[in-house]
Every structure is written in structure tokens, then in C-alpha cells.
Amino acid sequence: MLVNNFLLLGALLFCIGVYGVIVRKNAVLVLMSIELILNSVNINLLAFDRLWADSGNNDGNVFALYIIAVAAAEVGVGLAMVLLIFRNRKTISLDDLSEMKG
């Protein structure tokens, strides 16, 4: 298998994720899009780790493990915050978050 196939999949997921973050107005969908980006990074790292299999280190695999763990922590905080704004405003639309401007 060529490493290119994995990198293309990674790039595609990355683009879908960035598109989702920019276009979606629902906080939970934005969180999901960010997860897509993080997973595209993981695919990249694992593919590159195979590419450098004879380099004598496992940096790519280790990096991917760290990203998975940290992403879980991030989403935990993110969902708590979405819950917070839902309690105070009864909506999770990001367009309504415009109390401060200028």
C-alpha cells in the first residue's frame, strides 16, 4: 500500500472537519468536526510511522496515543460548556453568542 492513500484520506477528513467548524452553527456539530480533524491527524501519524518503520523509534504511534487521550479530555470540557450555555440560554446555536461586540 502506498502511504499516499492514507495521507489523502487524512487530508480529506481534515478538509471536512475545517469546513464543518466554519459552517456549522450548532455547538455540538462543531465539536464533532473538531474530532474529525484530530482523527485525520491520527491517520497521518500512523501512516508516517509505518513509513519510518526502520527509524528505530515509535514516535508516531506514541503521539497518536497522546492525541486520543487529550482529545477525550478536551471534549469533556467542551460538552460541559455546551451544557452550561444551554442551561442559561436554552439554545446551543453559536450565532446567539453575541452579547459582546466591538
Binding site: V41, W52, S55, F63, I67, V77, I85, N88
Partner: protein, 504 residues
């Protein structure tokens, strides 16, 4: 396959991190067992923990070797290093954290509750910053960045029932997480080029040469974009003013000083260690970021009516001056003067800005407002605070006898040392901006000294609690001393040497 051999841990070098981690657990436990009305004790313990973590830094500076591998062993050496650069910045983060604890004690005790949790998050964020200063590897840079950011997201949204604070937290969170995701994508490409996450290895591989130039450029740009969000460089600054206005004021002080400094430290480590040969990519990119950041930050700050929001934009534009120095790294041998300029700027800016926020907190205890108009006639009933605020604002503007001028001087010198079209042009843009910035700092001074007191304002003298007085004293002395005797800070700047940078 490498056979497993356990890493060699240098506990002396890791002591600041260990003290912080132990102290964090201690605060968490104490919070469980003390009754509500004595929760303030968690703040006191946090202060001692931060000062306690400073002790090993002093012993390391005095007795330690110049460069120590905190965690060594085959395949691990050189990825987490304690050198003079790391020690100076760790001391800065710990002291800034200590001043923020001083600023927080009364705010937290009187208003929001959840004190124990607040200090635990504050300490873990400081721990992340302390780790950032030692990281010399993509993985540890990433973990340190998340370690310092995730608690900060929660601290920004601290006032649970306050809609503005919620909004501040959510905006900071979404943009921060998005930025770190984009940065990670860049990091995965850098790893793909070098085959190692160690920054010095990446530095050798990112040469902008050969058949992988496209992927190298993409990697460098994405990493810089990620950090540009963290240091609120225009056009990635949109979260900063809203977050600074909505968050509790001590948290704003923390974000605008410590969190921003940590972002710059990460960016410095990347530029000096991982991109030394990629100058043709990062220099134009950061030149544009610096020019935009200074100019737009200043122009928007001019029309602000709220002092916290004005300081938010002022901190955006101050970041532009630091970027100016950093953009000139590795241009005509100016790398050392630009490294020193950035460190000196970060230290002086931290002292000055924390002081300005201390005054804002002290005044807001009386006026319950951060509108610039509510500062009218402050001199008549709070002369001490007025003088302090004038010192801090003048230092931010860079007026000579105060610390700020020396910081700006260093940044301009780095740009002029680099010379050529890039260096001189950014220095001219910076000089114009320094003049514009003075205008809005002077507006606030005029309000305090010359304008009448607003009607119905309470003009009995303002009581400043002891912890705020201590914070004001620390920041005021530092601001004055660095300006009057810049030799102190120049010395600190001169001993910093980034291991692995400058081809060493």
C-alpha cells in the same frame, strides 16, 4: 527494535514540576476537608506551592549544570531539557501565577465560591506552562499546550450563571481547540518529513529543499497559525477581547499575561529549534502577522469605552511587538538579539500588565465597573491607585523611565539588527504604532487626573486589601526597577541560551 531500558530521571531538574503536581493534589484534598467559611486557605496554600516551586529553580540556577536532561536515556535524551532559557521562563510563569493568586483571593472569597477547584485549575495551568519551557519535542510541546489551555477554558467560564462569562469560555474553547487541531495537523506533517518528533531532528529535515517542499511549507505554516491563535495575533485574535471582557478579572490577567507568554514560548521553541532553515516561510508570514497585529490592535483599542476591553486590544498590539522581534530570528545573525528581546519583553510586559489589572480589580471593588468614564476624578479619592495606574499605563506605552521602554527598545533593536528590507520596514511600522498606542493610554490618564468625579459616586477613600497591595508592590517595583536599572533584566536576557538553537 530497541530493547527496553528504563529512562534516567533527574529529580533535581524535575523538582519544580513535581512540587507543583504534589501541591495541586494537596489543594484538592484540603478543599475536601475544610468547612466552607475557611476555604480561603486553599488560596494561601496555592501561593506557598508556587513559591515552593521557585526554590528548586534557584538551586538549579546556582548549582546546576548549564544543560540537564530531565529525562534521559537512549532515544529519550534531549526531549525534555532544563537549560537557562527554561529556568528563566519557569521563574516568570511561577511568579506570574503567584501574583494571579494574590489578585484572586478576595474576588473568589467574596463572590463565586468553588475556590478549591479554581486554585487546582490555576496550578495545573501553571504546571503546563512550566512544562512548555522545557519541551524540546513535538509531543511534549503539544501536551504542555493542552495542559495549560484546558484549565484556562474552564477558568474563563468561571461565573456559571453569568451569560457573558459563559460566552467568554465557549468562544475561547472553540477557537482554542480548533487552533490546536490545525496545529496538530501541521505537526503530523513535520513528523512525516523528519521521522522523529524531536525538534532538533525536525530542524535538520525542514530545509525547504528537495521534492517535499510543499509538505514542509504546509507544516510550518499550520504550526505558526496554531500558535498565532494562542498569542492572539491578528487575524486570529477574535476570541481575545470577548474572552477578556467576559471572564472574571483575575482570570483575564492570567490569560493576557501567563497564557500568552506560554504561547510565545512555544512559538519560540518551534522557530528556533524546528524551523532554523525555513526562514523564507516564517519570516514573511510572521512579518505580516506582526504588522497586522500591531496596527489593528491599536486602531480598535482607540475607540474602546471599557478599560478591560481596551487593555485586551492593547495586549493584542503588544503581542505584535514581540512577533516583530521573533520574525527577525535568523536574519543576518540577529537570532541572539531577537531571542533576548522576546524574553525581556515577556518579563517586563508580565509585570506591567498584571499591575494594571491589579489596579482595575482594586477600583472595581468600589465602582463595580470597568468603564473608562467611571475612572473620572480617581485621583481625588484614590491617589495611590491613580499613581500606580499611571506608572503601569506609561510603561505599556513605552515612556522612558519605566520598564516598557526597555522592552520596546530591545524589540526595535532586534528588527534593526536584522536590517535589510524586512527589518527596517517592520521597525518603521512598529514606531508608528508605538506613537498611536500612547494616545489611548493617555486618554485613561486624563480621565483619572483631570476629569471630575461622576455624579453620585462614593468618594470616601478606597480600601485596598493586603493581597492586592502585595501584588501592586511586586508589579510596581518590577516595572520601575527594570526601567531605571535595565542592567538587571539585560543580565537575565544575556544568560538565556536555548539548547540546540544557533546550530549548537
Amino acid at each position: 527494535m530497541i530493547a527496553f531500558s528504563s529512562p534516567i530521571v533527574d529529580y533535581h531538574a524535575l523538582a519544580p514540576e513535581l512540587v507543583l503536581a504534589a501541591g495541586l493534589c494537596l489543594v484538592l484534598l484540603v478543599d475536601l476537608f475544610v468547612p466552607d467559611h475557611r476555604r480561603w486557605i486553599t488560596g494561601t496554600i496555592s501561593g506557598f506551592v508556587l513559591l515552593g516551586a521557585l526554590l528548586p529553580i534557584v538551586t538549579l540556577a546556582v548549582w546546576g549544570d548549564d544543560v540537564r536532561d530531565a529525562i534521559g536515556g537512549p532515544g529519550i535524551s534531549g526531549r525534555y531539557v532544563v537549560d537557562n532559557f527554561a529556568l528563566v521562563l519557569k521563574a516568570l510563569f511561577l511568579l506570574a501565577g503567584y501574583v494571579v493568586v494574590l489578585l484572586s483571593t478576595h474576588e473568589m472569597d467574596e463572590k463565586s465560591g468553588y475556590q478549591g477547584e479554581y486554585y487546582v485549575l490555576l496550578l495545573s495551568s501553571v504546571l503546563g506552562m512550566v512544562m512548555m519551557a522545557s519541551s524540546r519535542d513535538l509531543i511534549s510541546v503539544f501536551v504542555a499546550l493542552e495542559f495549560l489551555s484546558i484549565p484556562a477554558y474552564m477558568m474563563a467560564a468561571w461565573k456559571k450563571r453569568d451569560r457573558k462569562s459563559n460566552e467568554a469560555g465557549v468562544k475561547y474553547y472553540l477557537l482554542g481547540v480548533f487552533a490546536s487541531a490545525v496545529m496538530l495537523y501541521g505537526m503530523s506533517l513535520l513528523y512525516g518529513i523528519a521521522g522523529s518528533t524531536q525538534l532538533t531532528e525536525i530542524g535538520k529535515a525542514v530545509t525547504l529543499d528537495g521534492d517535499k517542499v510543499g509538505i514542509q511549507v504546509l507544516g510550518v505554516v499550520f504550526v505558526i497559525v496554531g500558535f498565532a491563535f494562542k498569542v492572539s495575533a491578528v487575524p486570529f485574535h477574535t476570541w481575545a477581547p470577548d474572552t477578556y471582557e467576559g471572564a472574571p478579572t483575575p482570570v483575564t490577567a492570567f490569560l493576557s499575561v501567563a497564557s500568552k507568554a506560554a504561547g510565545f514560548v512555544g512559538l519560540m521553541i518551534m522557530v528556533y529549534l524546528a524551523f532554523p532553515l525555513a526562514r523564507d516561510v516564517y519570516r514573511p508570514f510572521m512579518w505580516v502577522l506582526a504588522a497586522l497585529t500591531m496596527t489593528i490592535g491599536n486602531l480598535v483599542a482607540l475607540k474602546q469605552k471599557n478599560l478591560v476591553r481596551m487593555l485586551a486590544y492593547s495586549s493584542v498590539s503588544q503581542g505584535g511587538f514581540i512577533l516583530m522581534a521573533l520574525a527577525m530570528a535568523y536574519t543576518n545573525g540577529s537570532e541572539e538579539s531577537s531571542l533576548r528581546a522576546v524574553i525581556v519583553y515577556l518579563i517586563i510586559y508580565a509585570a506591567t500588565n498584571l499591575g494594571a489589572f491589579a489596579v482595575i480589580i482594586a477600583v472595581a471593588r468600589r465602582t463595580r465597573s470597568a468603564e473608562i468614564a467611571s475612572y473620572g476624578g480617581l485621583f481625588t479619592y484614590a491617589p495611590g491607585l491613580t499613581v500606580m495606574m499611571t506608572i503601569f499605563l506609561a510603561s505599556l506605552a513605552g515612556i522612558p523611565p519605566l520598564g516598557g521602554w526597555y522592552a520596546k527598545f530591545g524589540a526595535f533593536r532586534a528588527a534593526v539588527d536584522a536590517g535589510g528590507g524586512w527589518g527596517y520596514s517592520i521597525a518603521i511600522i512598529g514606531a508608528a504604532n508605538a506613537v498611536v498606542a500612547t494616545a489611548y493610554y493617555i486618554t485613561v490618564m486624563r480621565e483619572m487626573w483631570m476629569k471630575p468625579v461622576p455624579e453620585n459616586a462614593d468618594t470616601s477613600s478606597v480600601k485596598v486589601p493586603a493581597s492586592l497591595q502585595a501584588a501592586l508592590a511586586i508589579c510596581g517595583v518590577a516595572t520601575l526597577a527594570f526601567g531605571v536599572v535595565p542592567g538587571i533584566i539585560a543580565k537575565v536576557g544575556a544568560i538565556t541560551d536555548l539548547t540546540g538553537a544557533f546550530g549548537g
